[in-house]
Symmetry: C2
Subunit: 359 residues, 2 copies
């Protein structure tokens, strides 16, 4: 087997088998909605086998009326269908220097699906949230032992929290992905969809919604999916939360050869959190000069936006460095360099693509 | 050098030179007040050299009137002198099975000194704490780089927080230890003394007191000096806080030979947090049967209490297992076995001492 052998499954790169982690080669992105079988997969434990008819979703904690409901009851409630872009908090980790531990995602731990489900606010309203409530914890059915010596001993379920305000605003409890049942690897029967946040918050195989009166300090927002927020002489461990503005180039791809003296279409996608993509700029000289790309389609909240740029390639053969840079409607733009305080997550600095201009 | 060579300094075991960590051999404990030169030393970074005349203590954050004061001003304020027992959160770690990382403290990372200083409440009153305040962070002058790959990049100062309520109740800013200036290794010129808490909260070389409106998540209460508090399927990372009730046997010491058929004095100390020692029991048969020890002296809040027990040693030579067990006035007692969720800290389960009854 050659050293650079890549195992594919449904066109996705197998980053690991157990737990199952699959990446979409970003150069294959074509449609605004990512087909389910092309959508990246990130799991932490074995994929639970859940009998939909025996499944219950519990709503509990700092609520006046805790309750549980089953799948049939959930489907009878009012629902919404929205496109949401999910990006893994470790997307682009492969490009960090020096190399760090973790799944070596390149550009494709991101995708956009149409999610159909019940607004979480409906269930919170029914449970009657107490005035002292501050956060909402999502707990998945997936569980196992961790081999991190700093991890909790014994079995652990995957769980993650969001602020109550976010939970009441736009979170969905999704039972359909692109019009069909959410598949097992994406959280069957129900996945929480937290728009505008890195996807570690969109907990799969949801079994419990716990309202709390203080910040939740579970493993997946302290020792994992967290980073150091620096303040003068000290630093605080902070959960990874909102997506950071980013553009990625789909084509041409890394090390591709493009024809000299012709018009080459550079295209890709850009996304932000709770803001529109205001502008994507492209540099074909490694970031010295920038030109504005054309935004395609229409802007949709918390979904990526495609863009393109027609590049007049040089007449002389040689190497060229392409870079894309997104800016959102709040004026936030991608940093030129990596902030080391972010550790192994939240990677949105500018990433160059090297291409060869052929004869 | 023999394998079990122990380097001593002022009678203390050198656990490490850089950073300096010294342990008092617990069998040498004799007086209620531990002499300063026998007192255990725990440091994380090089000991700062501080010019008292150039030192300032800042009080800031969620206060109406932030201010700084110097050493001379601090000494003019009202002061208290109180005995307080300080115990390292990793005391007894040597006895954990399986072995864990960290300083291998046996019984002597504990001591009692008379601390003289200004109640923190006086300074907080002067600063006028805002209604939204929740915690108080102590920041030391000591700083450096950590080699934990999960630690914040760059230089870090040692800092630790306590709840506002505790800060206003009984915390001292101590400038004297046992009647003299606090020595450099114990925090010169000023050390925060947090009675009833493990000593990681009693920040040395204090330079900044920061009032915050939310829980502080610094390195020394998340990745270090923290443990997992389990709740059903999940666990939360929780800072180490209050001392747990404990009795330690000073004499006889581990593997000591005691005479058969005689009266042997077993003695030691016991301590708790915010409670009196109600009872110390001693077992000379490995925990099968217990008899009550005599408490010595008078009870003082947040200071240890000495105890003794006169043991009629067996007539026949052999091995005996001694155990001491303390119970506090709130009814809390030492657990028989280690709770693995506590990780590498807060070790207060029963620790047997093996002795040989000689002819």
């Amino acid at each position: 087997m050659p050293e650079n052998y890549i195992q594919l499954r449904d066109g996705r790169i197998v980053r690991s088998e157990a737990p199952l982690n699959l990446e979409m080669p970003f150069e294959t992105v074509e449609s605004f909605i990512t087909p389910t079988k092309s959508f990246y997969v990130r799991t932490h434990f074995p994929i639970p086998k859940i009998d939909r008819d025996a499944w219950w979703l519990h709503v509990e904690g700092e609520v006046e009326k805790p309750f549980a409901l089953n799948y049939e009851e959930l489907l009878k409630l009012e629902s919404l269908t929205v496109p949401v872009t999910l990006e893994c908090a470790g997307n682009n980790r492969h490009f960090l220097e020096p190399k760090v531990k973790g799944v070596q995602w390149e550009l494709g731990a991101v995708g956009t699906a149409e999610w159909t489900g019940v607004p979480l606010s409906v269930l919170l309203h029914r449970a009657v949230v107490r005035p002292n409530a501050r956060e909402v914890v999502f707990e998945g059915v997936d569980h196992g032992m961790l081999d991190d010596p700093k991890s909790p001993p014994g079995e652990l379920s995957y769980s993650r929290s969001i602020p109550l305000e976010k939970a009441q605003r736009d979170v969905l409890l999704a039972y359909r992905m692109n019009g069909n049942d959410v598949p097992p690897e994406h959280g069957f029967p129900v996945r929480a969809i937290v728009p505008g946040w890195y996807a570690m918050a969109s907990v799969k195989w949801l079994q419990r919604i716990i309202v709390t009166d203080r910040p939740f300090a579970g493993y997946y927002q302290t020792l994992d999916y967290a980073y150091w927020k620096r303040r003068e002489d000290t630093a605080e461990l902070s959960p990874v939360t909102e997506l950071q503005v980013k553009a990625e180039i789909a084509k041409p791809s890394q090390n591709e050869t493009v024809p000299a003296n012709s018009t080459m279409r550079i295209h890709g996608a850009a996304w932000a959190s709770d803001a529109e993509i205001a502008r994507v700029e492209v540099s074909t000289d490694g970031g010295s000069t920038w030109k504005e790309a054309t935004l395609l389609g229409e802007s949709k909240a918390n979904a990526w936006r495609f863009w393109e740029f027609n590049w007049k390639t040089p007449t002389a053969p040689g190497k060229q460095t392409l870079v894309a840079r997104a800016t959102d409607s709040r004026g936030q733009t991608q940093p030129a360099h990596r902030d080391p305080d972010r550790g192994t997550y939240v990677i949105n600095h500018l990433l160059p693509i090297e291409v060869t201009v052929g004869p």
